[in-house]
């Protein structure tokens, strides 16, 4: 099913703050069957010791333990409002943490492709607020074996390569970005 999303920060659910530092918030999303489901949006508060400016963002319904189930398959009634609410939560955080970057994995390739389509469908709107980057991970080719590709990869030696996502970029859906990063656009 092709889902078209029109992001609009003026059309969002009632987002409630759960932490004073703007990292955790929640809202009730409407499902296609008419019921509602709480969604959590959470930004890590514990920076990676080597990447102190990049924070992971996750969203999804809470599990019984109160953690985010980011693999849940949900049929939203209004995808535009749901994703506008999630991204507004990220924008609120970045507005007070202007040196930070937020990262989103996407739990599988299909979901990453869905996010990429949402980004492209709303490129001009998002470009007012965010810089958006896609990361590809490159693995070192080792020198074992008689030939270059006999035993080629050293998976302990991986480099993430970021590129700015541009409008109408065509990507093979089977080889989607490994990770997406946002930061707040500074208007100087």
């Amino acid at each position: 099913m092709a889902i078209a999303v029109k992001l609009d920060f003026d059309d969002v659910y009632d987002i409630k703050p759960l932490s004073e530092d703007l990292r955790i918030s929640t809202f009730e999303t409407e499902l296609s069957d008419g019921s509602t489901l709480p969604l959590l949006v959470e930004i890590s508060n514990d920076p990676h010791e080597l990447l102190p400016e990049v924070f992971n963002l996750a969203f999804g319904p809470p599990t019984n333990k109160g953690e985010i189930d980011d693999k849940a398959e949900i049929t939203h009634k209004n995808y535009s409002r749901t994703f506008s609410s999630i991204l507004l939560s990220g924008l609120i955080y970045l507005n007070s943490n202007t040196a930070h970057y937020l990262g989103i994995d996407g739990s599988n390739n299909a979901r990453a492709y869905l996010y990429y389509r949402f980004l492209q469908q709303n490129y001009d709107y998002l470009d007012r607020y965010f810089n958006v980057y896609g990361l590809k991970y490159y693995v070192r080719i080792s020198r074992f074996g008689k030939h270059q590709y006999d035993n080629p990869f050293d998976f302990n030696d991986i480099y993430p390569f970021p590129e700015k996502i541009k409008k109408a970029m065509q990507l093979n859906p089977d080889f989607m970005y490994n990770y997406f990063i946002f930061n707040r656009k500074h208007l100087n």
Binding site: D10, L18, S19, N45, H48, I92, L135
Partner: protein, 61 residues
């Protein structure tokens, strides 16, 4: 005289939420393990050199 309420700007919405979070949000809430160390990027960055190269590239874009 009745005045229609003006539509809030995104900036006003952000300011309101930020102020509400200061009043209503909990302090010192720890992230769950899953989100803290769960991203693919955080798993593959293992050395200072990798991290420095990555951040230099990212900030140059």
């Amino acid at each position: 005289m009745y005045l229609y309420p003006m539509k809030k700007t995104v900036e006003e919405r952000i300011r309101e939420f930020t102020s509400r979070a200061k009043k209503e949000g909990r302090k010192d809430v720890k992230s769950s393990n899953a989100i803290r160390n769960g991203s693919s990027l955080h798993k593959i960055i293992k050395t200072k050199e990798q991290a420095a190269t990555f951040m230099r590239l990212l900030k140059s874009l």
